[in-house]
Every structure is written in C-alpha cells, then in structure tokens.
Amino acid sequence: MDKLSHEEKRAFMTGNEAVAWAAVAAGAEIMNGYPITPQNEIMHYWTRLAPKFNKKFLQTEDELSAGFTTIGGVLGGKKAFSATAGPGTTLFQEPLSMAEMMRIPMVLVVQQRGGPSTATVIYSQQEVNLVTFGGNGEGWRIVYSTSSHQELYDYTIKAFDAAWKYRFPAIILGDGYQAKMRESLLMYNPEERGILLVQPEVFVGKPGLPGRDRPADHLRNAFSVEEELFEAAMNIQQEYDKMAAEIVEADEQQIDDAKVVIIAHGVVSRAAVAAMNRLRAKGHKVGYFRPITLRPFPEKQLQAVAEKCSNFLLVESALGQLARLFKEALFNVPIKSFQTIYKPGVGITAEEIVEHIESHG
C-alpha cells in the first residue's frame, strides 16, 4: 500500500502532520531531512507513516546532504522532498540552485522561524528573500505561501504537481505558527477527486545500454563559455515565464470600492481578512490582496488592484521582505499612499491592523 485509501476525512491536527499526509497523498516516495524546529514533526509523522505506505526516509548529516540526496532521489525518478527552516533554509540554497539550473523537481517545505542567525524557533516571515531569490541565480523556483492547514494540504499536493510538470524546484512556505498549531482540515485523495497527479519520470538509469540502445544521459550544470550559459539561461527563463502565466495565484476581496487595500501573505493574511471584515462592518471601505505564489509573483493581478485603489497598507512579520516583491511588481505604477506594519519575527493581529487603519485612515 502506498496510497491513501480514504476518500475524504475531516481531521484536526497540526500543520506539520497535515504536510506529511499531503505528501503521501501527492505520491511522494522519499523524504530526506535534517532536524530543525519548527519542521521536525513533518519528519516524525513521515517516519511513522513510512512503513505503512512503503515510503523511504533518510536522516542526513546536514541540510546540504538533505537537499542533495533529495535531488538524487528525484534523478532516480521518484517524487522526493525535504523540509527545513531558518538556518536550514540558508543551507538549502545550494541544492536549490542546482535544481534550478538542472531543472530538478525537488520539493521543499519551509516552516519559517525567526532570523537572522539562530534567532527563534517559533515564527516569522523572514525567509521570503531566501525562498524567492536565494542562491546564485535568478529565482527559478515556485513558491506557494500558505495561510491555513487546508492550504498546507492543498498546496503540498499542488507543489509536487507543479514541480514535476514544469521541472522547477517547488517550495511550500509555511511558518512556525502553521506548523505547530492544531486546526481542522479536509484530507482527501486527489485522484478520487479527479485530480490527475503528474507522474514522476526517470532522469538517469533508464532501461537500455547507453550508447547502443539509447544515448547516455549527461546532465551538467557547468559550462565552458559565456555564450553557452547565456543560451541555457535564456531558455530556462523563457520556460519559467511561460509557466508563470499558468501557475501564478493570488487572492483578493472587496477591491472594487476599496479606499485602502491591505497587502499580506501567509498566515498574516488571516489577520488582514479579519481586519477588513471588522472595518467593513464599521463602514470603512477596506479591501485585501494576497499573493499566494511569491514566485512567480502575481504582478498583473496586483497592478489591476492598483488601478482601482492604490492606498496600500502592507503588513508582514518581517522588515519589508514582502514589500520588496510588492514594490518591484508596481515599478512605474503610480500609487497614492503606502503604509506598513513590519513586525519581524512577531505575529500580527487583526486588532493592530484595525487600529492602524482607524488612526491613520
């Protein structure tokens, strides 16, 4: 047995447990990881599920090895993933950059903790820079920022599919609150919902004698001259752009008559929605916009919002990491006002947002 047998099941569990179940539902076969809070329980649940569902696990010597052995599993033709946080996300940039260059569909779950350095093991949104544009490259990754356990489940499944369909590394970006909190969600077997899972393919070790029955696979990431790299890079960028149009996702509410739009991502967007609803109940015309894919970023969607209302309040548990993506998306687009609530490593409540808008307008 290596699949979920149940059709649908309502469950009340932590986000880390939801991720482990979702990986099983997505058809993942291998997890390799290195302990770090707050993602540990993904490994704990995976190793408990492993014998029952015929899954493999390796606890590696560090995150470099977790990343590179995961890449090895993918090259062998298996859906493989890892999970990490904080300083581990730093180390993961090296395997991620190899995956970007060689188009290796590795999947990584990042449960953000405080930063920089060791900071806290609890919560933050400070790994946005790293997951979107970390590494010595061009940000050729897919990043889904989730805001609930249901989304952790849904987007873990989606991440495997997008990675294998488009051959880019995919990241599910959660945080310590989502990882550790218990919440209810609906677990399902995607295939029984009619979602056709993308099947993995073998990169190396196909049948047949190389050189006689088939050409040998020679996979490289190093090039001899500038022009060779230029051509490879432009090809990858082109395919990334093509994919972007198909996978980019955002959520927005009450934009049409809004006088101010709250911008947030991940778990903070829940506070944003709650604040919007409370303010609306008091007669304030407030809307909300949330990028779900941080890479590729929903630029057009945001620009369309700015055409209707460009008084923004951007809220994040970091010092302007989402704001950087936001500003780039609105480069050369005139906006009326831009206010922020930045709380690095600290949660943000609906009350704070309500109070800010009521006092600043």
Partner: protein
C-alpha cells in the same frame, strides 16, 4: 574520426580527445575505470557522478548516465540515487578538495552509514581546477599558490590520510584501498574489487588514487613521475586497508 584502438568500449568517442591537460592523471584513472566497466559489464546500470573540480570535465566522458553535481556534493547525490534505485550502481568521482575539505562531512557520514555506493578520490595534492592552491593532501613543505613558502604543518595541519580515516570508521562490508596511477595493474585490481563490493551490496567502497597535476605542479614527465612515486609515495601508502574478506576474519 577518433580511433577506437586501445579505448575502453564504455568511453564515449564524441568527447575524445578528452579535456584534461596533457599528462594529467585523471585520464589514466578514467581509462582504468573504463576497462573495469567493460569487464564487469556494468555500463547499463552505472550512474557516474562527477564533482566540481577537474572531475567535472568527465561529465560526458563515458557512454554512461552521468550527473555533474556541486563541489563536495557528489557523495550525497549518489546516495540519493542509490537509495531511490538500489538496483543501480553509483560511483562518485572527485578530487581531494571535494572529498576531504568541502565534502568531508558527507564522506565521513557516508562511511558511517556504510552507504552502498563507491567513491573514487583523485589525489593530486592540490586544487587543480582553481589554479593550484593548497588542498587537504598538500604535502608538508610543498609549495602551492596559497602556501608559497611550502605547507607548514604547524599552521595548516598535516595531509589528510583519506583511506586510513575511512577505514578507521567504516563498518563491516566496506572496501577501502589506495592505488596509484604509477601502478595501473594494481590500481585496476583495486578498482575492480571496489566495484564488485558494491555489486555484492556489501557496503561502502572507497578508492583513493595517487595522481598528478603537471600543470599546477609545473613539472615535466620525469619530475611528475618522481613526485608521485617518491614524495607522495612516502606519505600515502598504496594497498588495501579494508576488504570484505578481511572483515570476515575480524567478525
């Protein structure tokens, strides 16, 4: 058209002549490996992983599925493939810098876990690809670009004894040896036994090869040979340090 002549069958003709410098040891090691691939008929199930270093030049060397990885990361990539597909044979190919400096944590842990892969370390006493800097195996007193007055063991430690280290921590079933391009017959014997050890699924197979980098050593053929045989030979002893048979005797 390149003549096949004395070339192993598993060599890929299109990528010959190869890209290593004239007189480089890499070519000799890969010739021996090619012969072993042919003789053991493993071309079809072999995955060859090459490190960043001059090893990367071998990315299209064989008609064998090959993955170029990152500096020091070839062992974990091969581990990942082997664990995903245990029926395949995985050989990680790297320099002494990749194995003993930047990838040393991987080597140590691969040995501890007795991963069923094989690692070949081409020891040329320096960082060849980056222009001849000091490496973990640079000999005491040896001049390199970053030890211009000679390596001072008091400041920078003594040369890494890779096979001795791996043998000290390896588990039963591991195969550990050091050969040299100055003795190709012995090297081939070790290479074959190392591959057979993985074929049998016994455990980690580790082979260091005393090799040369005439370009960065700035040596002619005679001096190159003498440095390997005398200077390196004095420090790095060739032979088998651990074999499956020897383990049986112990257990």
């Amino acid at each position: 058209m390149v003549e096949r002549l004395a070339m192993p069958k598993s060599w890929r003709l299109d990528s010959k002549p190869h890209k290593f410098c004239p007189g480089c040891g890499h070519g000799m090691v890969l010739k021996v490996l090619g012969e072993v691939i042919d003789e053991l008929a493993i071309q079809e199930k072999l995955i060859f992983g090459v490190d960043i270093g001059c090893s990367l030049l071998a990315w299209d060397f064989f008609d064998v599925d090959t993955v170029q990885t990152h500096h020091g990361r070839t062992n974990p990539v091969m581990v990942g493939i082997k664990r995903a597909r245990p029926e395949l044979l995985c050989i990680a190919y790297m320099g002494d810098g990749g194995a003993y400096a930047i990838g040393s944590q991987h080597l140590v842990n691969v040995a501890f876990r007795n991963e069923k892969i094989m690692a070949i370390v081409v020891n040329n006493c320096n960082y060849g690809m980056t222009g001849g800097q000091m490496s973990p195996t640079t000999l005491p007193g040896q001049k390199t670009e970053t030890s211009p007055y000679g390596r001072d063991a008091k400041e920078t430690g003594s040369p890494t004894l890779g096979p001795e280290m791996v043998a000290a921590i390896a588990s039963p079933g591991a195969y550990v040896a050091r050969g040299s391009v100055t003795n190709l017959k012995q090297l081939k014997k070790f290479m074959k036994k190392a591959v057979e050890n993985q074929l049998a699924g016994n455990g980690f197979s580790f082979l260091e090869v005393i090799s040369c980098c005439p370009t960065n050593w700035r040596t002619n053929a005679k001096q190159t040979w003498a440095f390997m045989e005398e200077e390196m030979g004095r420090y790095f002893k060739t032979g088998e340090l651990l074999t499956a048979e020897k383990d049986e005797g112990h257990s």
